[in-house]
Amino acid sequence: MTDATHGSAADKSVTTDPSGPMLAADGTPLKTSLNRALRKQKRRALFLIAPLLVFILVTFIYPIGEMLFRSVENQIVGDTLPRTVRVLADWDTEASDIPGPAVFSALAKDMMVATEEKNHTRLGSRLNYEASGLSSLFRKTGRGVDDVGEGYTEQFVALDPAWEDPQTFIDIFAGPRWLDANAEYDGEGPRPTFRLAAGIGEVLPQTASIYRDFARVVQTEDDDNPAEEEPWNTVYLALYEDLQAGAVIPADMAHADMLNAAQVAAASFTTTDVLADFVSFDKDWADRDVWRIIQTYSAPYTTGYFLNSADLQLTPDGVAWRPENERVYVTLFIRTLIMSTAITVSCILLGYPIGWLLANLPSRQANLLMILVLLPFWTSLLVRTSAWKVLLQDQGVINDLLVWIGVVADDNRLALINNATGTIISMTHILLPFMILPLYSVMKTIPPSYLRAAKSLGATNWTAFWRVYFPQSVPGIGAGSILVFILAIGYYITPEIVGGTKGVFISNRIAYHISTSLNWGLAAALGAILLVIVLGFYWAYDRIVGIDNVKLGG
């Protein structure tokens, strides 16, 4: 389509001053004109691939991006224990063995809310990834936390039975707008979200905050009216703390007299040791390490998952190795790389002669051979893997045959399955077509006359092969190796079935964390590392062999 522009530009160029820019027929510089034409073309091309581009963005790039984002995300600690995290930030790990009473009081409130919302087990699972033992800690605490602060509830009620009345709290804490909306609520749809009265947050900050949480939980979790429910014990705990901290009660506040009387009486209340309550749920609450872990992982973003992927951990003193009995990932990465290499090499050794036969046999036999190569390729992966299970097991076909021939003794059968050997054998078989097909398509294009020419010039069979034929087939080996190696490095079904515990890959661990332990952050981090390794190999391959030397076909 640029022919016309080209022609006129050429004509014009003859007549214009050679030092100035070349001009098109309409007088614009040729470069601009050409660019405009090309841009139009590019835009049209983009328009054509737009559906594909959008599809890839939505179904591939975005989910992967979101998954990888999980490898650094860590909002759950701060979201579930907001009060605790705030107070815990001031804890000096060196000055005291465990945090002070303020932290335990904050924890009691946070845990009460989390337990009612059933979020505490999730937080326990999250922290359990860092140190096993924390999941049971949070579960056990969740069972008992509603009793924390009960002593204060009893003392407030003994002082004035009105403290037991839900309406007292509504009078003090509820905002007028919510009161109106709540009165109009007819049972349909979601309840109006509870709102605090103006200014109450300054007078009784702790109590207002926990009472708001209480009211909202009652509304959303139990679908009840907060005006009819007795507050949690932790609300009384907070009220005691606020009053003791010297809250100044404005005279015009609802129940100011009750609050003033309570403030006077609170000075002589019997105090409760919240720490002791928590330790009675689980003695680990008095464990410095538990608190250090919560403090270390309170930030919304963490490098913890990536460190974990390398058998490292984040401690308050910096990065350190994980305990000996938890180090598995480095071993698994190395094992994955070594075994993938072994599989790739066995595929080259087995696939090369077959590729050669396919390319050089008369077409009748070659077609038959081709079908034999493709037939397993078309069979379900699970079926082929299960077939290997039957073949390789101790009482399996191969062992039976070897015993029958007399190569191995009956009581000393070869261990071919549930170990690395089983994985290498079956994966070599499964990935073999990915090596044979590129090899075949490259070998097909090597003219047989080259070999004949080499021989007629005096080369031996070996020299003719090694100096003439082999170099021309290298692009096929390259393509096959990249395919097989990259497929192998991410394989998981076959190792899972025949690999036992010693023949599994890093992808089995990723699958475990995705589907069983639900440690998606760690799975994402492991996946990201695997991706970087593959890209690293690709880059190295490009530097050494050159990616232009890879051919998938003629």
């Binding site: 059933k118 096993s132 101790d394 036992g500 515990t501």
Partner: protein, 371 residues
């Protein structure tokens, strides 16, 4: 004229039929996905609960999912994705407690939702101690025990659970469950810990280390299974000399398939298995599930299940109704884990412990396996 009338009549009929159809089915969904353990056990549920129910309600279409072993993880993931695709899930007691604590299973008022016992007792009384959680509707009492190849153990068949750890007397591979349950308890028991102290010991780091050390002694000889049907298969193939699985699976392999397999009734881990309903089902789906649940957990249905597999019914009122095997005519009661002759040295699983410690020990166990 006639054509017009016919058309009009047909249209009216169709409309009416559609109306009736829509009305009768607005209340209850016709599709129900039931999650179970596969194999002989799932088959017993199909025969005893689902087939009779579908005979009464032919419009119901039941889909099975054999994912009970990873039910907790999958329900957590479904909750995360906000897309609950299961209607009824068969889980062990400890998992029922876990799911209830996490808000993933629905709390069910047993007396309101389930049928009273045939003997007139309320559902609560009838189920008794098996109601371990507000969300868990028990079906069966089962046990995890060990089966062995009778032709591979010589003249001295094992009688003691510790034969699992005795590779000198019983050389060969063992099949064990790829999760800490039962393995940890047996390891401590055979390492000299008194039966009553096992869960106290297992709650400590030292106790866990001790259990792993004991398991280390047979790690190289162990094939790890994930589905209950694997051990009977491995035993039948002669791949392992002994292996743990659920007693009903061993019964099926021995009595129904006539395999050369024997089973141990020593320190078998007694546990409950039952239904939970995932939280957050739509009204129509929930209505169907509750209707099925009421039917499938009544006295007769629970007793019927015992015709197909050797597990004890969870209702006290079902026990007298347990009869003979549906095809073989064998008296089933004596193959139940609850039979006094079998329960001489039974080990009752502490589901409370496992609901608290499962996450901790799972992660340690998997790390131990990977090393």
């Amino acid at each position: 004229m006639t054509l017009k009338t016919t058309l009009a009549a047909t249209t009216a009929l169709t409309l009416a039929a559609t109306g009736v159809f829509a009305e009768s089915h607005a209340a209850m969904s016709n599709d129900m996905t039931i999650v179970s353990w596969g194999g002989a056990y799932q088959n017993s549920q199909l025969k005893a609960y689902v087939e009779p129910y579908v005979a009464l309600h032919p419009e119901v279409n039941v889909v099975w999912d054999e994912s009970s072993a990873e039910a907790v993880a999958k329900l957590r993931a479904m909750n995360e994705a906000n897309n609950i695709t299961w209607d009824l899930v068969d889980v062990e007691a400890a998992d029922g407690i876990r799911l209830c604590d996490e808000g993933l299973a629905m709390e069910i008022d047993v007396d309101e939702a389930l049928a009273a016992g045939d003997d007139g007792s309320t559902a609560t009384d009838d189920f008794g101690d098996s109601l371990v959680s507000d969300c868990f509707i028990p079906q069966i009492v089962f046990s995890t025990t060990v089966g062995y190849r009778t032709d591979m153990v010589g003249d001295t068949p094992p009688t003691d659970i510790c034969a699992v750890f005795d590779t000198e007397t019983y050389p060969g591979k063992r099949a064990l469950n790829k999760r800490p349950l039962a393995n940890m308890e047996w390891a401590l028991l055979c390492d000299g810990v008194a039966k009553d102290d096992i869960y106290d010991v297992l709650a400590t780091d030292e106790g866990q280390t001790q259990a792993f050390a004991k398991l280390d002694s047979i790690k190289a000889d162990t094939v790890w299974w994930t589905a209950g049907a694997e051990t009977p298969q491995l035993l039948a193939d002669g791949e392992v000399v002994m292996g743990s699985t659920y007693n009903g699976r061993l019964f099926s392999a021995i009595a129904e398939q006539d395999q050369p397999i024997g089973m141990l009734w020593d320190a078998e881990m007694l546990d409950f298995d039952g239904w939970v309903v995932p939280d957050g089902l739509s009204e129509e789906r929930l209505a169907r599930v509750m209707d099925f649940l009421k039917f499938a957990t009544d006295t007769q249905r629970l007793a019927d299940q015992a015709k197909y597999i050797a597990y004890g019914p969870a209702r006290a009122s079902s026990a007298p109704l347990v009869s003979t095997h549906a095809e073989l005519g064998i008296e089933m009661a004596e193959h139940m884990p609850t039979d006094p002759a079998n329960a001489t040295n039974v080990f009752v699983t502490n589901y409370g412990f496992w609901s608290d410690y499962r996450d901790d020990l799972d992660s340690k166990f998997q790390a131990w396996l990977a090393q």
